[in-house]
Symmetry: C2
Subunit: 151 residues, 2 copies
DNA sequence: TATTGTTATACTCTATAACTATA
DNA sequence: TATAGTTATAGAGTATAACAATA
């Protein structure tokens, strides 16, 4: 019943999820809504199509998330300057503040992780994790390729 | 824009989630339902209350998950031998087979992770991750304690 | 009285399909 | 004809509250 490396990674995933759930408790924010906010912070004002692509969800899904975020004043829809079919979704100043807070928490959590290990362990972790990410990404790509070819 | 250790862990979490979604595509299985199956495989036949506690969700939630799993013949409700209010939920033979397959996939994925790194990296990863899990767990415990005390 | 599981209700995330307005 | 976003509909996960049967 020894935990494998995979088990350990899954445990960490669960802990992160719990942490996020705790952080958002009592706010209208959820994981999906926050994903939209992170995308906006990274890409700047975006059309809903762009958000849908970035998050790999349907445009319909984005409509609902943006509705919710807009009703709580985290984001604002503004007219697209050249395409009258589209909106530009942008963070409001309240949304910017929320993102700044989240980025700060992110930085602090990262510092906690860094401080939990020795510098050598930290370097080894980064290397090992890079290798694992590369392998997982390759596996995903393969799997998707074989799925597409079956279609 | 260098990825921090935290970013890397989050990337891995996402890759696992994608992998799971791909593995369950086309089946009636979902992450939540599979969590019930894993719990039953680990604990043996359980009351719905026990499942609710193990998964930290409400009993009402378990009712729905067990309904779905039972309708697809992964689990079976049987009368509790001594408590006529309760059911014992158990894996069916089809459910056992599905779990055996999943455990096999789990083992293979773990082998992929192991083979993606050198033995020294693997050892370093395990150590570092253990330290990080310990730190994260401590943080969660603190956070929950302060939340409870505020109540 | 307390506990087990259910019905009732509600909110969120997600998807597909049909539709409107615009390109 | 194609694209951006919405309405309509549906399934899944989750929660609280009220209730039945049983402990």
């Amino acid at each position: 019943m020894t935990a494998t490396l995979l088990d350990k990674f899954l445990t960490i995933s669960n802990l992160f999820q719990e942490d996020m759930a705790r952080a958002f408790a009592g706010t209208p924010l959820t994981e999906a809504r926050v994903a939209v906010l992170w995308t906006l912070a990274a890409q700047g004002p975006s059309t809903q199509q762009a958000l849908a692509e970035a998050l790999s969800v349907t445009p319909r899904n984005i409509s609902g998330l943006v509705d919710a975020l807009e009703s709580h004043d985290y984001v604002q829809r503004t007219a697209h300057p050249t395409d009258r079919r589209a909106f530009l979704v942008a963070l409001t100043s309240a949304g910017e503040k929320a993102m700044a807070r989240m980025q700060e928490e992110h930085t602090q959590l990262n510092a906690e992780l860094r401080d939990a290990v020795t510098p050598e362990q930290h370097r080894a972790l980064e290397e090992g994790i890079d290798a694992i990410i590369a392998r997982l990404t390759a596996l995903m790509t393969e799997a998707q390729a074989s799925k597409v070819s079956k279609k």
